[in-house]
Amino acid sequence: MSLYEEVKVHGYAEFCKAVSDRKGKDIFAYFSGNVIKMTTSEPTVRGEISHLPEGSVFIYCQVGQRDYWKNPNNDFKKTLKLSGVPTLLRYGTPQKLVEEECFKANLVRMMFTED
């Protein structure tokens, strides 16, 4: 079992603080909206969580209410360039899985275990 830190945050400001508090660490972030479909990919991501590299950080971030998310100018879309939820990404790298890709265990495992 690998040792990783799990952090739960709500909203953009909390997300940014969680990241800046952990400079230099390998950070994986899972962005979820408050919509029913989100819960179906969570088990997939949770199922692979044991494959996270040792010493890494897993941030589980709730982006906010539906209306906030729908606004194209929200910080997640504008600054983090998220195109949809759920999104699983490796912070500071181009590694990203979006929507249906998050439902695929082999893709999630690839992000957690391969360079």
Binding site: P94, E101, N106, L107
Partner: protein
């Protein structure tokens, strides 16, 4: 059930006691596919290799692809995707766009935009954006392979025998894969000149230019291939003092009249050209600058100048030396080093195939490699017999004045049919956008090469001007459909565009009349 399995089952039943059908079938299929680790192993994860492996996997084959990047002499390396994604088409087009935008910003003032002088370019901003996009493509390919169940191995592949591939890690650790079929799609790498002291030590190639952390500064580009001209073009466009050194002709293999228009435009726009010059040595000065000495074959004199960077664009060599081809008996062209291939991409060894840049006589283009790879996968899976058609493939050179073409050059048409049997229609035109911008359009030109007799079938189309690739794509479909001159002339143009000028050609070269297009 395939015919092979049915035949074996029949033989099995005849010679043995009757077993339950299902258990029999399982054992037989395990034996058939269990003989090799994979149905297909592809060596090379570039445009061709990836397309072939993904298509094969989608057709139910068990596939593995090996991709490995030997760092350049300067130490540059990159991820999955091959030349096009990492050190070719993609970064090239983005940097070309950066240069075009620089020109557009200057034109913008004439269109009323209030833009402060001077407008400057920051290499770091451009390079980071381009490199990030390339990295996202590397990741995208990783996701696609995983999703399509293609096994990806970051190992240097070579042949042990006709069914065994050796994979080697950076540290030399070996592993082996057996395969029913093997496909080689290892592509090529830029050549360094072998007879010029200091060339490799102090110079860079296209493998390095897109990954530089700082602007290359005052640059000498040696060569006049499309790689040389495209690089020199965007470097000039973003404000680097650039000189191109040409031994003899530019864009060898392309229509030479068109090549002249391309280089004339570059010279008019600030790229310096040293025609008929051959570099002799490169030395590093105490300041860190590079001193290049060259011979001017026109004056017989020796010249020298210093540069911040020297970019060698003198041709590409196939990635075939370390593959172990001779041991396995795969025939290679002595002169070029490329693999000799048949119309179906087969090599001299029956279950080994090769395509893309590594194939002798093949175009060095991404779309042909991709299409050939997919068709090969379909044939290997027994789903098709269709061969790749390498004729009438349209291409574009992304120099500051872009040049696109499809079909034969004028020289090729004359060579094949004779001067008297061909007719060349041509026109010098001016893009509307150039008028307000007060831009010189002297080299904006169109040429339609067709048969002189009969239906006047179109043999080749040539265009220099903005958006050359976008203009030519649709016309390449026309050539594929056997378009004639009357088809072209009956086509109503879209107005106002540059592309419409192709439908309006009427002056022949033979007439000697002025080919400059007048207004509407």
């Amino acid at each position: 059930m395939g015919p092979l399995i049915q035949n074996n089952m029949a033989a099995f039943f005849k010679s043995r006691h009757r077993w339950k059908r299902t258990s029999c079938f399982t054992i037989l299929t395990r034996n058939l596919t269990g003989k090799y680790d994979y149905d297909l192993v592809v060596i090379g994860g570039g445009s061709g290799g990836l397309a072939c492996s993904k298509e094969a996997a989608q057709l139910g084959q068990k596939v593995a692809v090996l991709d490995y990047v030997e760092p350049s002499a300067k130490g540059t390396k990159w991820g999955l995707g091959g030349t096009c994604v990492n050190v070719g088409c993609i970064p090239k087009k983005l940097m070309h766009q950066a240069a075009l935008l620089g020109t557009a910003v200057k034109d913008a003032r004439k269109y009323g935009w209030k833009i402060k002088d001077p407008v400057s370019h920051d290499w770091e901003t451009m390079a980071e954006a381009v490199q990030n996009h390339v990295r996202s493509l590397n990741w995208g390919h990783r996701v696609q392979l995983k999703d399509k169940k293609v096994k990806y191995l970051n190992l240097k592949g070579s042949l042990l025998d006709e069914h065994t591939v050796r994979g080697m890690t950076k540290s030399g650790k070996e592993s082996f894969l057996t395969a029913k079929n093997i496909v080689i799609a290892t592509g090529g790498r830029p050549k360094y000149p072998t007879d010029i002291p200091g060339a490799m030590e102090h110079g860079i190639t296209s493998d390095d230019i897109f990954w530089l952390k700082e602007a290359p500064g005052k640059t000498l580009v040696v060569g006049a291939s499309y790689v040389a001209l495209e690089c020199a073009g965007f470097l000039t466009g973003i404000g680097q003092d650039t000189k191109v050194m040409v031994r003899s002709i530019a864009l060898r293999g392309f229509d030479q009249q068109m090549a002249g228009l391309v280089t004339d435009h570059m010279q008019a726009y600030g790229t310096r050209f040293a025609w008929g010059c051959v570099p002799q040595r490169v030395d590093k000065l105490p300041s860190g600058a590079l001193q290049v000495t060259w011979a001017d074959t026109r004056t017989g004199k020796e010249e020298t100048d210093s540069f911040d960077s020297v970019l060698w664009a003198v041709g590409r060599a196939p990635e075939a030396k370390a593959l172990g081809l001779d041991k396995v008996g795969v025939e290679v062209n002595r002169e070029t080093g490329k693999i000799v291939v048949g119309a179906d991409e087969s090599t001299s060894v029956s279950n080994i195939y090769a395509f893309g840049d590594i194939g002798e006589g093949r175009p060095e283009l991404t779309p042909t490699a991709v299409k050939a790879g997919r068709l090969l996968a379909r044939r290997l899976a027994g789903q098709s017999t269709q061969l790749m058609d390498y004729d009438n493939v349209a291409t574009t050179v992304f120099t500051p004045l872009e040049y696109s073409c499809v079909g034969l050059s004028e020289e090729e048409a004359v060579g094949r049919h004779g001067q008297d049997a061909i007719e060349v229609y041509h026109a010098f035109y001016k893009p509307l956008e150039f008028t307000v911008a007060e831009r010189d359009a002297s080299q904006c030109y169109i040429k339609v090469v067709c048969e002189r007799g009969g239906e006047q079938r179109i043999l080749g189309l040539h265009y220099t001007g903005p958006n050359a690739g976008e203009v030519m794509q649709g016309f390449s479909l026309a050539l594929r459909c056997g378009a004639t001159l009357s088809h072209l002339k009956e086509t109503v143009g879209i107005h106002p565009t540059c592309a419409e000028e192709l439908t309006k050609v009427s002056i022949t070269k033979r007439s000697g009349l002025d080919a400059t297009v007048t207004g509407c």
